[in-house]
Amino acid sequence: MLRHLFTLIWNRKRANLLLISEVFFSFVVLFGVGAVLITVGKNYLAPHGFNYEQVWRLEVRAGQGSKMPRAELDDVLRQVKALPGVQTVALTSGNVPFIFSVNNSEFAYKGKKSPVTNNYDADDHYAEVMQMHLREGRWFAQTDDGSNHRPVVITQDLRESMFGDEPALGKIFTYGEPGKDPKPEDEFQVMGVVDNVNMESDFSAPIPAVWKRLIPFDTTHWETANVLVRVAPGEGGILQEKIARTVAGVTRQWTTEVRVMDDDRLHRRMFTLVPVVGLCLMGLFLIINVALGLFGVLWYNISQRRAEIGLRRAMGATGAGIGWQFLGEMMVVTTFGVVLGSLLAAQFPLLNAFDLPAQPYVLAIGAAAGAVYFITALCAWQPSRLAAAIQPAVALREE
């Protein structure tokens, strides 16, 4: 019977072209939406690699044209840290997590280039504030003050791409294009390796990262300082005000804004969520349209084939058998559309489009195929039941 259906569909391919192309089209749309959703969902489920909860960020400003000598900055940090409710304080660069600020570059080790990597500055307390997980080695410490190179901590993915299976600790690497005579602070010595981090948004994939130790002389020309503060659970507005007053109290001109990192995260999340939800709605709208079209075409087909149905009933088909035949035909048509769609969709992982791993694409092909079969079966259900109800005696009446 299945072969009979294939023959029938194949011989009617011209008439079925509309149906097949609708299925193909739905498949491609569902595949696209599916690939985005799966990628985004996978990223959402992956750990961030640090703990953003109970972390605040301070944007400390020295005021018009003023600079920030390290001694005064240290004084501010000390006093903020001394406030009850504040657990740890760390100094970092402006590209804190979840805000639209990126600082990246490529690195190289013995001629082997790294992928594009995010650069962060960090002091000795950063890992404690962010609660990062060290896989190898240690975070920087005061003992690194005498180091001849710039101490850095890297993420696991960067470690794998530059050092592979070799040990990474103690290795020295440079920028991708180091120039002739790299300065000592542009030679980076690996002190530790942490878990992969995703500091962009809840829906982004992890990006390789490197944290460079802030060396004391670095801050003297700063006009702003970015400070991360880990506070005790339950702290809120009162402590934020206290921090602002404390900063203002240490040096008359300095001011600060206190932001909650979790708020930054939720804010950033909207920027991905809105287009994704828009895409889903568009996809849904298209699919509903296609489904209605499909339903109409099937309905029409069955009214066109009343004589054939009567004939088959007369030849020994049961009513239920006719219903299954029509459902089966639709599944065969769907198979043609899905096969064509899969050929197109398979190009994405095969050509390594967008530099993404193949797995989400393969999953999306499976999910789109499943969804298309489900939708077409749903659309064919009612018309098939109608076909099943056609009485065998019509064979003697339909011309």
Partner: protein, 246 residues
């Protein structure tokens, strides 16, 4: 016995089976068929009693609308009577399920229609295979074999890969007859099989049906408007306004 008679023309007009020793294949008793629509009630058949015996070639005649097609659809188990009983091989089918009726149609009955009812998107041989698709446990190979044998019988061996659109009306009706034959039925029910054909092609089809009846012993019930054709059959049943008049 029928095979012996087949080649002797003088026996043609004689009944194939003696009435006394006849075996009924189809028996209709007190049949009434009423079509009920919202506004009107049509009595299509009124108190019909009819027996078709094995090996007979019966023609049914009557003016348009007198209930011939309705009668054929009841004989072919395509429809249920409003009252009365239908027996096939001595078994009443009144309480049969949709599945049992479909199975009985498939095994025992072949249909031939005025408008052929071939599936235009299937080749000739695929069309002939259709009834065999509904027979359980038959392999694709056997289906094809049987279809080819049936096509050979109607003289269309050279046209198996054609599509219905590429055939003449007479050839199409022969394909339809091959399809009715493929399942090896006991009875062929034909509703004006020559109605769409000119007299020459109509004659060919008539010869074919008579041949099947004589040679293979297939029982044939044929509705016709053609007096000449009817006279060639063993028995003519005349209808008028839902009732049998002779």
């Amino acid at each position: 016995m029928e095979n012996l008679l087949a080649n002797s023309p003088e026996h043609r007009t004689q009944p194939a089976a003696v009435p006394n020793g006849a075996t009924p294949v189809l028996q209709l008793t007190n049949i009434e068929k009423v079509y009920q629509t919202k506004t009107i009630e049509t009595v299509a058949l009124n108190q019909v009693n009819l027996t078709i015996n094995r090996g007979e070639f019966v023609s049914i005649m009557g003016p348009s609308g007198c209930g011939k097609s309705t009668l054929l659809s009841l004989m072919g188990l395509l429809d249920e009577p409003s009252s009365g009983t239908i027996e096939v091989d001595g078994r009443a089918v009144t309480s049969f399920s949709d599945k049992e009726l479909a199975n009985l149609r498939n095994l025992k009955i072949g249909f031939v229609f005025q408008s052929y009812h071939l599936i235009n998107d299937l080749s000739v041989v695929d069309n002939v295979e259709v009834p065999l698709l509904y027979r359980k446990g038959m392999s694709g190979k056997e289906r094809r074999q049987r279809a080819l044998t049936a096509l050979d019988k109607v003289g269309l061996s050279a046209r198996t890969a054609h599509f219905p659109g590429q055939l003449s009306g007479g050839q199409r009706q022969r394909v339809a007859i091959a399809r009715a034959l493929a399942g090896g039925p006991e009875i062929i029910l034909a509703d004006e099989p020559t109605g769409n054909l000119d007299s020459v092609m109509g004659e060919e089809i008539m010869e074919l049906l008579m041949d099947l009846n004589r040679r293979d012993g297939v029982t044939v019930v044929m509705v016709t408007h053609d007096e000449q054709q009817a006279l060639k059959t063993e028995r003519v049943i005349r209808f008028f306004d839902g009732s049998q008049v002779s």
